[in-house]
Amino acid sequence: MRDVVIAGIGQIPVGEHWDLSLRTMAARAMLAAIKDGGGMKPQAMYIGNFLSPVLSHQENLGALLTDNAGLTGIEAFTVEAAGASGGAALRVGVNAVASGFIDCALVLGVEKITDMVGSEVEAAVAQSSDYDYEAMTGLSSAGQAALLMQRYLYEYNPPREAFGEFALIAHANGANNPNAFFRKAISREAYASAGMVSDPVNMFDMGPYADGAAAVLLTARDTAPKDLPHPLVRVSGSSVVIDTLALHDRPNPLAFDAACQSVERACSQAGIMPGDVDLFEVCDAFSIYALLSLEAAGLARHGEGWKMAVNGELSINGKLPILTMGGCKARGNPLGAVGVYQAVEAVQQLRGQAGRNQVKDARRALIQSLGGPASTAAAHILERLD
């Protein structure tokens, strides 16, 4: 097993890219990551994508995206795990390089949402649930989150407005990220008056689905270019864990077991405890997911995760900053690309390139992306090498 490092990163701003195709968005992120990594030529590319077969009528992305970017002839294919596709693709890339089969791998996350709109997108995203027994009842992904949030409110009785703190943190950080979809802080009043998506989930409890592409260039520690202007970041822990697909099949849906186990396994590989990280790029596709993930990781007791947000512990200067570049809520939620955006953003932090959102002395980061309500959870530990 070889040490795997991230030598290069690339991303495009998340947003509504009416003028950019799936392939062009991907190429921009891919070429940026290769350039940032000193121009190493990848031998393989693993693509995190969730919905291109439905929203773009496009499969076989490995061929399309390498062909378009001038990389014909390499190994390339899609890794699909709904909202965890990017994290799962990173896992595949890490395995490939660690094993020695591949010396240099590009991991791409890409999602083209805005060629379709509204209820069509909701129906497509709902395919991450059990289609026969969940989606066919008219339940959406936001609806799944709402079932969890309603039960959480019932069991633990937190103040309803506490959920808004996650949106406030995300927007405060997104304001300083040039690649964020929403670059504006929001107020508690705005949160309180937001319209309902799926009661009790309101518009600010949910990250907006948007277009995006991000890429990281992986190589082994001993094959990395020696003259890069930035420090290398090592992937010291990597894990994908699944839970039941449907919420109704879980003995305790609020436990988020897969989220818990993926953090445990990644941390165990890195030889650390979850609390030993300097920042946590948590999945805030919905505010309740961020809350349950904090509790599942053991960073807060069950029923008390919201207190960390209310007490300021999760802000940039807090004890454990989360969503440091805006998360799904403010950076935007490009679904299958999220896990790779998280990796890019964590690398920015660990290199000291996060600008006004820089977490002081950040040396180690935890990132976690979720497919559905943690039906799949992908977690990675990233550490700066000096």
Partner: protein, 132 residues
């Protein structure tokens, strides 16, 4: 159209037919190939009573395509009296607000019209407050 898919699910949709595990007697809905409790093969049919209570619920305002003409509507996790939890719409609520713990019973209702020119109607289970 997916006609075979809807046809294949008719016992579940119309009759809430699940399984009872021949090895550990666990009641299972929806049907599975392997019992989640003991790991044995599950294949013995079992008719659920259709009675249960609301474990959690949501009221859908932004709905997926195929359901967007019906908003707002309530979807719940219903804990059946035999143990399993099922996801289903709540119906016949009238002036009543859904609540956790509400006793409900299964009824057969139109789920949606399949989105195509043939206009196939899909029926299945929903749950209503228990009639007093």
């Amino acid at each position: 159209m997916e006609i075979p898919r809807h046809w294949r699910l008719k016992k579940q949709r119309y009759g809430l037919v699940g399984e009872v595990c021949p090895h550990c007697d666990a009641k299972i809905f929806p049907p599975r190939d392997v019992c989640p409790h003991c790991g044995g093969e599950a294949k013995t049919a079992f008719n659920f009573s259709g009675r249960g209570e609301v474990y959690s619920y949501t009221v859908m305002h932004d709905a997926p395509a195929g359901f967007d003409q019906n908003t707002p509507y309530a979807v719940a996790l219903v804990k059946l009296e035999e143990g399993p939890v099922v996801t289903a719409q709540l119906t016949d609520l009238g002036e009543e607000q859904p609540r956790i713990g509400m006793p409900v019973e299964m009824v057969t209702r139109k789920i949606r019209e399949d989105a195509n020119e043939r206009g196939m109607l899909i029926y299945g289970y929903k749950f209503r407050p228990v009639l007093r």
